[in-house]
Each structure stands twice: as C-alpha cells, then as structure tokens.
C-alpha cells in the first residue's frame, strides 16, 4: 500500500537526515518504526505526509508510492485527500478550539454530510470526548488530548494513519488504552497504520511488522515475532538482556555492526 523507495531527506539544504530509507506497509497491517532519538523516524513520517516543507526539509532523492500513485511531490493537502493522515507528535490539538471544533477541523477534507456520522463514530471509540465536546481542548488532560488527536484522524476516514509517538508523556495505563484503540481501529475499520514509537515493547506487541532505524536508514526489519526474538532488539530496545558486567565493551561493537 505504502512504499518508500530509497529516499533521502535534507533539512536546510545541508543536513542529511534520511540516507536512502526504504520501507513498505501492507494494506490492513500495523507497521512499527522503531529507533533511538534522532534516527529520523519523525522525518520519515513527515516525508510521507508532505509536512517537511514548513520545517525547511526536502526529499532530494527516491520516491514514495501510495496506492499505485507517486506522492513525494504532492502538497500536504492533496496527500490528506488521497487518504493519508498523520497524527503528529505531541498531540498538537488546537488548544483554543473546543473538542467538537477540533473534530470538525479533522474532517476538513470530507464532504459536509458525513461529518456527523463520523463524529458519532469518534464518540463511540472515546466516550470521554463526548462528555467534553464543548470544552476547550487546551484544558484537557494529556490522555484526552491524545484521544482527540486520534479522533481527528478518524474523522478524516483515512486509509493510512501515520502515528507519531502516541504514548508520549502518558501514564502506563493510558498507554495501554491508546494502544487498544489503535489495534481496534486497525481490526474494525481496516485502517492501515504506520506507528512510530519509543515504547518498543508496546509497539512490537501491537504491530505485525517492524522496522528498526538508525542514522537515517533501516537497519533491521522483520515480523514482530522475529524482531522480538532478535538478540540485538532484545538488548537495545526491550531491555531484556541478561545481567552482564559493565566492563563488557562488546555492547558498543555490536551496535557498530549495523552502521557499516
């Protein structure tokens, strides 16, 4: 469904962030994109959704295909219309708009007569939002804001949702709730999801396929079962390694192996 082919992204004409990244997301699946800070995960999502331009970024090489259509040259608004919706990192709700107005903004690309049914669907997923429909979004808790951010995505009825760290800054219980919603969304609506996460444990249990990024490239990919069984992933992302001496420097060398 989504196919990223060897893209390079440059910020400010000098900073090369993605160095030939390729990945594929299959229709109806959840794919997780993991990696440490600064690996280029968010940049990858923004490259797909066309949101690089406000950050002065540019795709200089490679191509992105979505549903058999090339989208890397398209405008952000057109990309949303073709069925890709990004839930941005840090929730980014419109603070001085009410919950309902936030949802209406989410449905901007949809025909007007579908808005009220879509809104009912969102309230079905998040009954808490219904109670707060006329409250200003800025006054809600972090968890509710994240629900609203996902709700806005549901309003747009996209084929593919790009989710950037939905668990950011949430209590463990809420993280679980949010991931539940993500998997239900995938199962019931058939929405394809590309998920960027720091919480590797959660992401790998929700997703079907995983990519691990480092330094602007995919260094490892596989089904989530394969990844969970991988020793490196266990050690660096899941924190499951056996106790060992801190004098053991093999740690660093193993990391290097991926970069060469």
């Amino acid at each position: 469904m989504l196919k990223i082919n060897n893209i390079e992204v440059v910020y400010n004409d000098v900073i090369l962030v993605l160095k030939g990244l390729s990945l594929e997301v299959k229709q109806g699946s959840i794919a997780a994109l993991l990696g440490s800070n600064g690996a280029g995960k968010t940049t990858t999502l923004k490259a797909v959704s066309g949101l690089l331009r406000p950050d002065d970024g540019e795709i200089t090489d490679g191509e992105i295909w979505f549903d058999g259509e090339r989208i890397d040259k398209k405008d952000a608004a057109d990309i949303v219309k073709s069925g890709i919706f990004q839930v941005m990192e840090g929730r980014r709700v419109f603070k001085d708009l009410t919950v309902e107005e936030n949802l209406i903004a989410g449905a901007y690309t949809r025909p007007g007569n579908t808005v009220s049914t879509a809104m009912e669907r969102v309230y079905n997923y998040f009954p808490r939002l219904k109670d707060r429909r006329s409250q200003l979004a800025g006054y809600m808790s972090g968890g509710e804001q994240q629900m609203l951010a996902i709700g806005r995505a549901i309003m747009a009825a996209p084929k593919l949702i790009l989710m950037d760290e939905p668990s950011l800054g949430l209590a463990p219980l809420l993280v679980k709730e949010i991931f539940n919603i993500i998997t239900t969304l995938n199962r019931e609506e058939g929405t394809t999801i590309l998920l960027v996460e720091q919480n590797a444990n959660m992401a790998l249990s929700a997703a079907h396929y995983g990519y691990i990024m480092e330094n602007g490239r995919v260094v490892l990919d596989g089904t989530t079962e394969e990844l969970k069984a991988n020793d490196d992933v266990k050690e660096f992302y899941l924190g499951l390694s056996e106790k060992k001496s801190f004098r053991d420097v093999k740690h660093y060398r193993r990391r290097k192996r991926w970069l060469s």
Binding site: V93, F94, A105, T109
Partner: protein, 294 residues
C-alpha cells in the same frame, strides 16, 4: 446630560467602525502573523470604490455596496497571493515594511484616480433624524450601528459554525497541525486578507456616509493599534470591545477635554489609552498571555 448621551452615541458609531477595522486586523494577525499597516488603506479604497460606483455610474447604493464588498474581497485575496505569499518565513520587520509600502502605494493610487479633495456621498439615508427617548439621532448612525452589528454577528457565526471558519481558527492556533489535517493553509491566508478587506470596506463606506471621504481616511488604520492593544492582539472579541471603548473614550475626550485645552485631546486620547494599557496590562483585555521563547 443630553450632551453626554450624544457623545456616547457618536462614540459608539465610530467605535463600531473601529471594531470592524480591528476585526480585520486581528484576523490577519491571528491567521498569518502579519502586522498589517495597510488596514486603513483597505478601508479608504473600499469607501472610494463605493462612492465612485454610486456617483459616476449611478448604481443604486445597495448594489454598489455589494459590488464593493466583492471587489474588496478580491483585492485582499490577491494582495496576499501576490505580495504576502512570498514573504512567508521572512523576518517580521520585512513584512511590516512591505505592508507600509503597500499602504503608500494604495494611497497614491487613490489620489491619482480621485485627487485629494473631500468628496461626499449623495444622500443615501434620509436626513430626518430618529427620535428616541427625546434624543434626535441621525439615521445614518442607526444604520451603520445596525450594519456593523449584523456583520459582527455574521462573522462570529462563520467562525463558530462553518467548516472554513473553524479551519481558519485552526490555522491560527497551530499552522502545522492544520496542514496535517489537509487544510490548505495558503488558501486560508488569502481568505483572511479577503475578509479583512471586506470588513474594512464596510467601515469605510459608512464613515464616508457620515463624514465624506478624502485620503486622510486612511489615518483610521493607525487608530486600529490602540484598539487591538486594548482588546488583546489576537482576540476577536477583544477587537470588538476595544473598538467600542476607544470610540466612546475618544469622543468623550473630544467633548469634555477639548474645550478646556483648546483642541487636540480627541486625536491623542486613544494613544494615551494605548500607552497606559501597555504599561498596566500588556496583553490587553482578552489577549492570550503567550510566553515568547527567545
């Protein structure tokens, strides 16, 4: 007492026009982060176009009013598309200089076409005043307050209820998030300019009906600063309330202080208020207290 009430009424009329102008200013500032120094010129151009249509082409007033609104919208729309669009991401001072340049150009163009003499609108509203509670109030005052009120209500409904209005506020709140929602931010920018030009033109037309017009009409653009600073730069409610307060205060100053000191108080009073507000309540009555990170 009657003098006082008359001052209040005149102040409300002028204030409601300030409110319209400030609404346009705030709209542009909120949505596009541009401080527009050409707001008064948008008002002036609107007033001249409507006058010209009515006088030279004998178009009925209501029709020339509507044509002016369409013209103003188009003008605002294209000013954004041609000039401001290229300035996105440029330093704020360059953008301010651009709007000051625009204001000079518009003023000059108006002077080329219509000269600098004061012109008056033909009698549109009957000159027989309304009598309300023993006070005679001129008809044009009543109509302009009513028209301004209608426009303000229409716009609040537009921002609250319509999809595009909500999208405009979304852009004002968080541009990138709005972009991620498929909202065409550039179109919203152009739309803000269009609407700002429309509300200014409405103000200009009614001012013209009250006082007649010449190119000093553009000075109203500077009065917008005390208004928006009092109301809060980014608040639409603030623009309306601030407009009324400044209009009324200005007239009271003109009525009571001017005779004592021999004139001039009316002109400077709004700016005195502005400085006082800046010292006491720098975000205005309704503005958001945003912490600017340096």
């Amino acid at each position: 007492m009657e003098f006082f009430v008359q001052l209040i009424i005149t102040g409300t009329v002028i204030g409601s026009i300030y409110a319209l102008l400030a609404l346009g200013f705030t709209l542009i500032y909120k949505a596009t982060d541009v401080v527009n120094f050409a707001q008064g010129e948008l008002l002036m151009v609107g007033a001249y176009i409507c006058l010209h249509l009515t006088v030279s082409y004998n178009v009925p007033f209501w029709a020339s009013f509507l044509i002016t609104l369409v013209f103003s919208f188009t003008m605002g729309f294209f000013i954004e598309k041609v000039f401001l669009r290229r300035m996105i991401g440029e330093p704020i001072i360059s953008i301010i200089m651009l709007t000051i340049g625009l204001s000079s150009v518009m003023k000059a163009v108006v002077q080329i076409f219509w000269g600098t003499d004061t012109r008056t609108y033909p009698q549109v509203f009957s000159s027989e005043p309304f009598m309300i509670a023993g006070l005679s109030i001129s008809r044009v005052y009543i109509y302009s307050i009513a028209a301004v009120a209608v426009f303000l209500v229409l716009f609040s409904l537009f921002f609250k209820k319509s999809k595009v209005g909500v999208a405009m506020r979304a852009v004002a709140s968080d541009q990138q998030a709005a972009l991620s929602m498929g909202i065409d931010v550039k179109k919203i920018f152009a739309l803000s300019w269009g609407i700002a030009a429309v509300v200014s033109a409405v103000g200009g037309i009614f001012l013209g009906n009250i006082n007649g017009i010449n190119t000093t009409l553009s000075h109203f653009g500077l009065k917008v600063f005390p208004v928006v600073i009092l109301g809060g730069l980014d608040s639409i409610v603030g623009a309306i309330v601030g407009g009324l307060i400044i209009g009324i205060l200005e007239n009271l100053a003109g009525g009571y202080i001017d005779p004592l000191i021999g004139g001039g108080a009316k002109e400077i009073f709004p700016y005195v208020v502005m400085i006082a507000v800046l010292m006491i309540k720098p975000y205005g009555l309704f503005g958001t207290k945003a912490v600017e990170k340096v």
